[in-house]
Each structure stands twice: as structure tokens, then as C-alpha cells.
């Protein structure tokens, strides 16, 4: 692109077809400068906001993670990588990583297929399907804190709705356990997460399904494809971009899970439902070891960043082609 700034003799442009030489380079150059100035000028407010509210705190957290710091004044007691060494030796944090992985796998293995099945069902002509769509989407609209309080009551040991209903049909196996027992807390928590978020993924899939042209399904039907074949070979490939985005959101959501857990169990019993964000909160705002808490947030950020970049590079590449902006002339 540098070539456009060169005198026309060397640029290889057909000179004869251009306006008179005297005005050409200056006029064009000025237009370009104005063009760039406008572009950058318009970006300034956004860049300033992004810089002060996102980049600066991020860099500061990174800086603070190398200090022993109580959160007041400036960090002064540098400890090198000690916070990170301590972090990866802490059984609770290692447990956080493991629980994060479990939640990701459960989300991908159970929640998303469930949401997809519902979306396909609700894409059929069905009496009252708008009502169903709204009902299934409703939990997503509810705030996390309210959901937490609600399910804390439903699964209250002994007194809760869940125990009464299950007791009523003679099943009292999990009664009194749910969030109160180390062996059942993660399963119960996942149940709530599933309830809370499946509607969102279902909505994504529904939107994706609307975009599948009816002609293709019709053509497959004429070719004699059965319902499964039509789903497998027509619907699913066309839905793939939506699926990939939904997987992405689901993974990032699991890595950063906080509010639900904090409200329902605060990470308990005995750390068995603690997530990275909950551990960070405990250290940052309860123990006032802000340096250590910053180290946790840096690791969370690192995991999210690496995942996001790798996912974009290897999985979303085709979906993003043409969507990402490059400077004019593309090239390098």
C-alpha cells in the first residue's frame, strides 16, 4: 500500500488516464490524511474508555500479581512469581481448574445437545410454539442472584420443594443433600446452570435454523433422505457456525462462573463447588491478599485469552473470514 504515495512515474499507474499532474498527488494525499484523521478521531473516545476501563486495570492486575499487596496504597513488596507458585500448589485452586473442566465438559456434552434438540423441535410447526420459546428463554432473563436464591430454597435440605416432591413419590435418595453434600453439590449446581442457560443456546440455534433454506431440506426430501439424514447432512452443516459460537460462549462462561456459585454455596461445602472466580473473591475481598487474588485473575484471563485465540485461529477461521477488518490492500 505504500506504493500509492510514490510519484506516478514509479508507481506503474497509467499516467494518461489520470487528472492533470499538478493537482493529483496533493489532492489525493490530503484526502487520505483527512480520511485517516477522521477515522482515528472517531476512535479516540472509544479508545480512551477502553484503555482506562479495560487495559489499564488489566495491566495493573498483572503488575499487582507480582507483589504481596493488601489492596491499599501502592504495591511495594515484590515477591516475583511467588503468588503463581503458591497458586498452583494450592489444592483448592487445582480443584478449581478441575471443576472448571468438568463444567465445560458437562455443558458441551449435555447442555448444548439438549438445547439443540429443543431448538429443532420448536422449529417445527407446532401449536403454541411461541409460548414454549418464551418459557424456555425466560430463565436466561432472570438475574443470577435471583436464580441463586430461588434454587437455594428449592434445594434447601429437608424443607425444600425438591425434597418434598421427591419424597412425595417415595424417592428420598438425594434428600437433604443437594448443595449440602460434597458428593452432590457439583451435579446440583450443573442442574441449575443448565436450567439457567439452555434457553439462551436454544435461541441461538433457533435463529440459526431460520437461516437454513427450506429449498435445501425440500430437495433432500425429494432425494429420499429420511429425517435423520436431513438433519445430519443438511441442517447440521448449515448450523455449524452457530454451534461453534455457542460452544465458545459456553466455555468462556464456565471459566468465569461466579455469581450463581457465590449466592448458592459460596464455594462450599468445604470448597467442593468453588470456582476460580470465587477463590479470587475470597482472597481479594475477604482476606485482603489482593496481590494473590490478582494472580488468580491473571490466570483466569490467560486461560480465557489462550482459549479465545486458539479457538478463533483453528475453529472459527472459516466463520470469521471476511468479517475481520484488515487495512486496505489486505496483504501482510
Amino acid at each position: 500500500m505504500a506504493s500509492t504515495y510514490l510519484p506516478e512515474e514509479r508507481s506503474g499507474v497509467d499516467v494518461a488516464s489520470l487528472p492533470p499532474a499538478a493537482e493529483r498527488p496533493r489532492g489525493r494525499a490530503r484526502r487520505r490524511v483527512v480520511h485517516h484523521l477522521t477515522a482515528y478521531g472517531l476512535q479516540v473516545p472509544a479508545l480512551v474508555l477502553f484503555g482506562t476501563l479495560v487495559l489499564l486495570p488489566l495491566l495493573f492486575a498483572l503488575y499487582a500479581s507480582f507483589f504481596r499487596w493488601g489492596g491499599f496504597g501502592m504495591p511495594e513488596d515484590a515477591v516475583g512469581g511467588d503468588n503463581f507458585t503458591r497458586l498452583f500448589q494450592d489444592p483448592v485452586f487445582r480443584g478449581d481448574l478441575w471443576r472448571c473442566l468438568v463444567l465445560v465438559l458437562l455443558s458441551l456434552g449435555l447442555q448444548l445437545p439438549f438445547a439443540l434438540a429443543l431448538a429443532v423441535a420448536l422449529n417445527q410447526r407446532l401449536r403454541g410454539r411461541a409460548v414454549y420459546r418464551m418459557l424456555f428463554f425466560a430463565p436466561y432473563v432472570l438475574s443470577e442472584a435471583i436464580t441463586g436464591v430461588l434454587f437455594g430454597m428449592i434445594f434447601a435440605p429437608g424443607d425444600g420443594l425438591a425434597d418434598h416432591v421427591l419424597g412425595g413419590v417415595g424417592l428420598d435418595g438425594p434428600a437433604g443433600k443437594w448443595f449440602s453434600d460434597p458428593s452432590t453439590v457439583m451435579a446440583t449446581l450443573f442442574l441449575v446452570m443448565m436450567w439457567k442457560y439452555f434457553g439462551f443456546h436454544m435461541m441461538l440455534y433457533l435463529a440459526g435454523l431460520q437461516a437454513v433454506p427450506a429449498e435445501l431440506t425440500e430437495a433432500a426430501l425429494i432425494d429420499g433422505a429420511g429425517p435423520w439424514q436431513r438433519f445430519r447432512h443438511v441442517t447440521l452443516p448449515l448450523l455449524a457456525p452457530t454451534l461453534r459460537i455457542s460452544v465458545f460462549l459456553s466455555v468462556i462462561g464456565s471459566v468465569q462462573l461466579f455469581d450463581l456459585v457465590w449466592v448458592i454455596t459460596a464455594g462450599g461445602p468445604d470448597h467442593h463447588s468453588e470456582t476460580m472466580a470465587v477463590t479470587m473473591f475470597q482472597y481479594g475481598f475477604k482476606r485482603y491478599q489482593v496481590g494473590y487474588a490478582s494472580a488468580i485473575s491473571v490466570v483466569m484471563f490467560g486461560i480465557s485469552l489462550v482459549f479465545a485465540l486458539a479457538y478463533q485461529r483453528f475453529v472459527l477461521r472459516r466463520d470469521l473470514a471476511g468479517a475481520t477488518t484488515t487495512m486496505r490492500g489486505g496483504g501482510a
Binding site: F72, G152, D259, W262
Partner: protein, 431 residues
């Protein structure tokens, strides 16, 4: 821990992904200057009485003081508990405190004293502070010097259901640990849940360990261990073992590991609704029981934490805390006058009657009508030793580690020795 409102609510809205440092930075802020102009002294009074009826009662007292002292203006600054704590930490770092400020005493006050920011009140308050309840003054004594004047005091003890105890055939509340364990067995045999515990919140469980440590190792052992950064002494391990004995009896309500303190399905409600026979809690327990549950009325009784056989502590030593006021270094005489006014019999009677605190001025005791609070007051009056709530006495990280590792002991994942070692490790990490 000391204040039921502080640990429970949490920061629901706090978002996890936002960096920790943002919030910490935003806590730093300016400070206004009180001064005198045209002969009037303005005294700034920072307190945490943001709830009714206390808020209005305190504002009324400030006006009353102004009426008696025309040349003094009291500027009242009221901050919510958690906000007050962060603001004060920032102010301590900046080296300038308000004229009169709320304090819980203990480690935080010591930090401010060591930074040279707090007025030594010994001589300036001596004539009138002598008569105040001795145990109430304990938290503000630092190296035998007086740095604060109390207006409230309370303690932790067992709140029990007399009817359920009678039904289980327990005639008298137990006074020894083995007697206590027997009572738990009898209650279980009678089909009653002996104890309600909020396992989710951790601090209620810590009370058991702290009291047991006081009873086995003596009232000042917790303070000494914190100074020496060593909790591995024999007394602390035995405290854990005694707690283990209790846990092994499975005395707690169904699903207690997930239970909160003040919710409708929590610890206080379990006792208030008569579904558990007792709880170990502070003097605020009857109010919360009636708020979260039905409340027990005349069936509610109070007994002190039992003595442990062969231990160094006595049943008369109390674990508790309260509220008081301290002055910044160089505060005007008007501030001392205000403390005197606030600790007068007339003011304390008003406070006891209208805001439900326990009296710190002996002559205000007559204002106390509730039999349970009278029982607590009697304990406090006869106290032979005192340990301040650990969240005030210890650095936050150490206090949290006590809560955390005792919770692990109760859940069965840490041994008594491991508890002692974890707390020691946390204490050593804090300089």
C-alpha cells in the same frame, strides 16, 4: 463475625471478571477537614449506625450535645459497616483519621495506634471511665493504655430451647464439655436435632473452636498464639480434638454444610422454629431467631460455653466484642467531652432502651428488661477473662483461615493438627 450483618450478605452484584484492583483503587478517597471558625469547634463523628432506630437516636444525641455545648458542632458521618472498614483502611494509610471514630478495638486499633494516629485517652478520661463495665473496655486496651471508650458489649454463648431440653430429660444446662456431649446424646436419643449450624458461612463454626481453645489453653492463648504466629501448641490441637468429638456425634441439622445463618432455612430459623435445640451465637441471636423463624419466646434460654475438664480456661471467660469510639491524635477537648457525654448514665439508658445494646454503664442496667439479655449481662459482669472476636483481633487472612480450616474439620476433611498447622501457616505469611 462479630456483626451478623457483615459476613452474610456478600457482594452479590460484584462481577468476577472485573479486576480486583479496580475496586481496591476506588476505595481511596479524600477527607474533609474539621476546624474552628469564630470560636465554634466542629467535631467530626464517624459511626456505622446506618439502620433504624439507632440512626435517629444517635443523631438526636448529637443534637442534644450541641444544645448543651453551644460552641461545638458535631458533624455526623454515617457509613455502612463494610464501606466504613475500607474507608478507614484508606484513611489509616493516608495518616489522618476523623476526630471521633467507631472502633471494634483489637488488631485494627493496634495498627492505628502503632501508626501514631490515635489519642491516648488514659488521663483525659480517667475520672469518669473508671466506672464502666470492665470487660467492655478490654478491646481498647493496648499495652495497658486506654485508646477507646465502649458503648456496647456482647458475647457468644449457647441459646437453647428449654422445652426441648426438658423433653430430652436434661434438667440443667451443662457446665462441662463431657456434660455437654451427654446432653447432645440425650437430645439425639429423644429424636431432636441437638444443634443448628450454618456450615455455608463458616464463622458460626469457628466459635466452637475458638471457645474450645480458650477453655483448653486459657483465655489469653488465642492472643498469644497470634503474636507468636504459632497455633500448633497442644491446647489448640486438643481444642480441635474436642470439636471432633462433637462432630462425631453428628449433632447438626440435616444438610447443615449448605445452611446459611439468617435465611428462612438457616441456623437461626432452625432454632427459632423449634427444629433444633440450640445454637452457639452472640447476644443478637434472639432477634434473628424471631426474624428468620417464629422465635421461642419464654422457652429460650442462655448458658455459657461449658468448661473443658483439665483445661486451663474457666467457664467465666468470655468470647465477645462490642463497639466503641476512639479519637484521632490531637483531637479537640470537645471530642473528649462528647465521649464523656456518650458514656453517661443518661445516654447509656437511652441506648439500652431504644437501640437494644447491652449497658456499659452499671447504673443503666435497670433499663434492661429482657431476661435473656440480663443473663448475658450477668455473664459479662462476672467475666474473669476476655477474648475479642477473631475477625477484629486477627489480620483478615488469619481470621479467614481459622474459619476455613475449622469448617474443613467440621466437614471431615482436616484433622485437628492440620487445622492448627494451616492457621499457623497463614499467620506466618502475614508479616
Amino acid at each position: 463475625m462479630g456483626d451478623p450483618a457483615l459476613s452474610r450478605r456478600g457482594f452479590l452484584a460484584a462481577s468476577a471478571a472485573a479486576g480486583v484492583s479496580m475496586t481496591a483503587l476506588s476505595a481511596c478517597g479524600g477527607d474533609s477537614d474539621g476546624g474552628s471558625s469564630s470560636g465554634t469547634t466542629t467535631v467530626e463523628w464517624w459511626n456505622i449506625s446506618t439502620t433504624q432506630p439507632t440512626k435517629d437516636v444517635w443523631a438526636g444525641l448529637a443534637r442534644q450535645f450541641e444544645a448543651q455545648n453551644p460552641k461545638v458542632k458535631i458533624k455526623v458521618v454515617q457509613l455502612e459497616n463494610d464501606a466504613y472498614k475500607s474507608k478507614m483502611t484508606a484513611l489509616t494509610a493516608s495518616g489522618k483519621l476523623p476526630d471521633i471514630f467507631h472502633t471494634w478495638g483489637g488488631g485494627v486499633l493496634r495498627q492505628q495506634v502503632e501508626a501514631g494516629l490515635v489519642e491516648d485517652l488514659g488521663e483525659r478520661t480517667a475520672p469518669w471511665s473508671e466506672g464502666l463495665l470492665k470487660v467492655a473496655k478490654e478491646p481498647y486496651l493496648i499495652d495497658d493504655k486506654v485508646y477507646g471508650i465502649p458503648f456496647d458489649i456482647g458475647m457468644i454463648g449457647f441459646w437453647y430451647n428449654k422445652a426441648l431440653f426438658r423433653r430430652a430429660g436434661i434438667a440443667q444446662p451443662p457446665t462441662t464439655w463431657s456434660g455437654f456431649l451427654d446432653a447432645v446424646r440425650k437430645l439425639k436419643a429423644a429424636g431432636t436435632t441437638p444443634i443448628a449450624l450454618a456450615g455455608k458461612e463458616k464463622w458460626p463454626g469457628m466459635y466452637y473452636w475458638a471457645y474450645l481453645a480458650m477453655r483448653t489453653a486459657g483465655a489469653n492463648a488465642l492472643g498469644k498464639a497470634n503474636d507468636a504466629k504459632d497455633f500448633t501448641g497442644d491446647g489448640f490441637v486438643r481444642a480441635g480434638q474436642h470439636l471432633q468429638e462433637l462432630v462425631d456425634l453428628q449433632p447438626f441439622q440435616k444438610g447443615f454444610l449448605g445452611a446459611a445463618y439468617s435465611t428462612p432455612t438457616g441456623q437461626a430459623a432452625a432454632v427459632g422454629n423449634g427444629r433444633a435445640a440450640m445454637e452457639l451465637m452472640g447476644q443478637w441471636a434472639p432477634v434473628v431467631q424471631a426474624d428468620a423463624g417464629k422465635g421461642l419466646g419464654a422457652d429460650l434460654g442462655f448458658f455459657p460455653f461449658p468448661a473443658v475438664e483439665g483445661g486451663r480456661g474457666a467457664i467465666t471467660e468470655v468470647f465477645g466484642g462490642g463497639g466503641g469510639h476512639a479519637l484521632r491524635k490531637g483531637a479537640p477537648q470537645a471530642a473528649v467531652d462528647f465521649l464523656k457525654f456518650f458514656a453517661s448514665a443518661a445516654t447509656d439508658t437511652t441506648l439500652v432502651k431504644k437501640t437494644g445494646v447491652l449497658p456499659v454503664v452499671p447504673s443503666a442496667e435497670s433499663a434492661l428488661t429482657d431476661p435473656n439479655l440480663t443473663a448475658v449481662q450477668a455473664q459479662l459482669k462476672a467475666a474473669t477473662g476476655f477474648q475479642l472476636y477473631l475477625d477484629q483481633a486477627y489480620a483478615p487472612a488469619v481470621g479467614q483461615e481459622v474459619n476455613d480450616s475449622v469448617a474443613a474439620l467440621v466437614a471431615g476433611s482436616k484433622s485437628p493438627r492440620q487445622v492448627a498447622e494451616s492457621i499457623t501457616k497463614a499467620a506466618k505469611e502475614e508479616q
